[in-house]
Amino acid sequence: MLEVRDIHTYYGDSHVLQGVSLSMSRGQVVGILGRNGMGKTTLIRSIIGFTSPRRGRVVFKDRDITAWPSNRAVALGLGLVPQGRRVFPSLTVMENLEVAVKADRGPWTVPRVLELFPRLRERGAHRAGKLSGGEQQMLAIARALMTNPELLLMDEPTEGLAPLLVREVGRVIQSLKAEGLSILLVEQNLPLALRVADHVHVLSRGRVVHSSAPDALWRNEEIKARYLGL
């Protein structure tokens, strides 16, 4: 359902992604691993269209979306949980959910996401900027689900969360996977990524340096030491 073909992405003159290719099929969870600054977020930005690649192609559902504005990509079925949550701080929790453009292709509605995140219901009328980090993360996931994505891009959803909340996010990801949602998951929490992913890629300096099944990576001490700092 997603195919990234040899993309090169720049910020100004700095050549960050240097020929990344990967593909995933419907219902899969694919993990992207790699140390800080290796280009994981840039890969997500390239796919959603925040920073379009200068060369190469992003093909989603058989459409070439490489140069599309993000809102069109979202309309086609991409969803984004960005790094750092980026909830709309001056909007209430409810408004954060309501501004997301709904597509009627999927099951997600406000009542249904509130069922998944009961804590957000109590906070409905609060400004999102006043929520705790964990609550903001839940809201960022809930907001992305409101667009009824077919492929969810998640960029470090457990970053900076307490262990209890990390487990809760892990459970949510598992349950979304069980419903058949495809997920491209950037994650520095290796155990979590290996538990939920069907396949993993390791990024280093803007290139994919390792691709395998999760358990093969778990057993590969050399790759883990060299590229993940373990």
């Binding site: 809102n71 909007l91 501004v99 453009v101």
Partner: protein, 284 residues
């Protein structure tokens, strides 16, 4: 005492006029980061178009509607042809919008000449309300009523509708707004058109009060920018309070210390910005 009340009233009604001009400018600033030097031109052209409509038809209501609509089309055209391509390039925006401002200034001179005109207002809006010794021009009351109505509609739309929430989301984080599917281009164009419409409305209304004349555009533009900067970019509440402050300071300054009127206007502004660099209600 009478002096104070009537000056207060004059200040408030000038503030109301400024709010019509600056409310849209603030939204455009906050949402698109466009420093729109053409905003004063919409004010001027709105007044001139209304003048022509009045000459042809004699209808003040029609002049208001056509003046505002025509200029909204001008704004949409300018935004589509140039400004949407210049997002994030402040210098390019300032030069482009300044260029348009100069073109519109000359165009107005060619089409309407150099004489000052006053838009004649309907009988129902002329005359004064007399309370004891005090005279309150009905037309100035009308301006205050229009500004209050506009502020109310804008506030209700921004705070209580889905499209309003989308606008606020775009002010918060335009990139992420796209990332949840919001068509930021379309919303920006609508807000830009709304700002142009309100500026034109201000120009039409001002035409019956201070008149329509060459140079009115660049005369009022600094006031609008002061309102936006003091109130805080993108904040409707800020624009409202900023307009009132500027209206009152300008009016009392001119009445009490005519030779120092710029000082009495700008010194308090500088003081506010020293304490709150993002303006009264602005976010960093």
């Amino acid at each position: 005492m009478d002096f104070w009340i009537s000056q207060l009233f004059n200040g408030v009604s000038y503030g109301a006029l400024l709010f019509l001009l600056a409310g849209g400018l603030s939204l455009i600033f906050g949402m698109m980061r466009i420093v729109n030097m053409t905003h004063g031109s919409y004010y001027l052209l709105g007044g001139y178009v209304a003048l022509t409509v009045i000459w042809r038809t004699g209808s003040f209501a029609l002049a208001v509607v056509l003046g505002a609509l025509t200029i909204s089309l001008v704004g949409i055209a300018e935004w589509n042809a140039f400004l949407k391509r210049l997002s994030g390039q402040e210098l390019g925006q300032v030069l482009t919008t300044m260029g348009f401002a100069l073109i519109f200034q000359d165009l107005a001179l060619v089409l309407w000449g150099g004489d000052p005109y006053t838009i004649s207002v309907p009988a129902a809006l002329s005359g004064s309300l007399v309370v004891g010794q005090l005279y309150f021009p009905v037309y100035r009351i009308f301006i205050v009523v229009v500004a209050v109505a506009v502020a109310l509609v804008l506030w209700l739309t921004l705070e209580w509708t889905r499209i309003g929430a989308m606008i606020r989301a775009t002010v918060d984080d335009p990139e992420m707004a796209r990332g949840v599917g919001i068509n930021v281009y379309l919303i920006s164009m609508m807000v830009f058109a709304l700002g142009a419409t309100l500026a034109a409305l201000a120009g039409v209304v001002a035409g019956g009060f201070v008149g329509v004349y060459p140079g009115a555009d660049f005369e009022i533009l600094p006031y609008a920018f002061v309102v936006v900067i003091v109130g805080g970019m993108g904040s409707l509440k800020g624009a409202l309070i900023g307009s009132l402050m500027v209206g009152l300071l300008d009016n009392f300054g001119k009445a009490l210390f005519p030779e120092l009127s710029y000082f009495t206007l700008f010194a308090p502004m500088a003081a506010i910005l020293a304490v709150r660099p993002t303006g009264l209600f602005g976010r960093a």
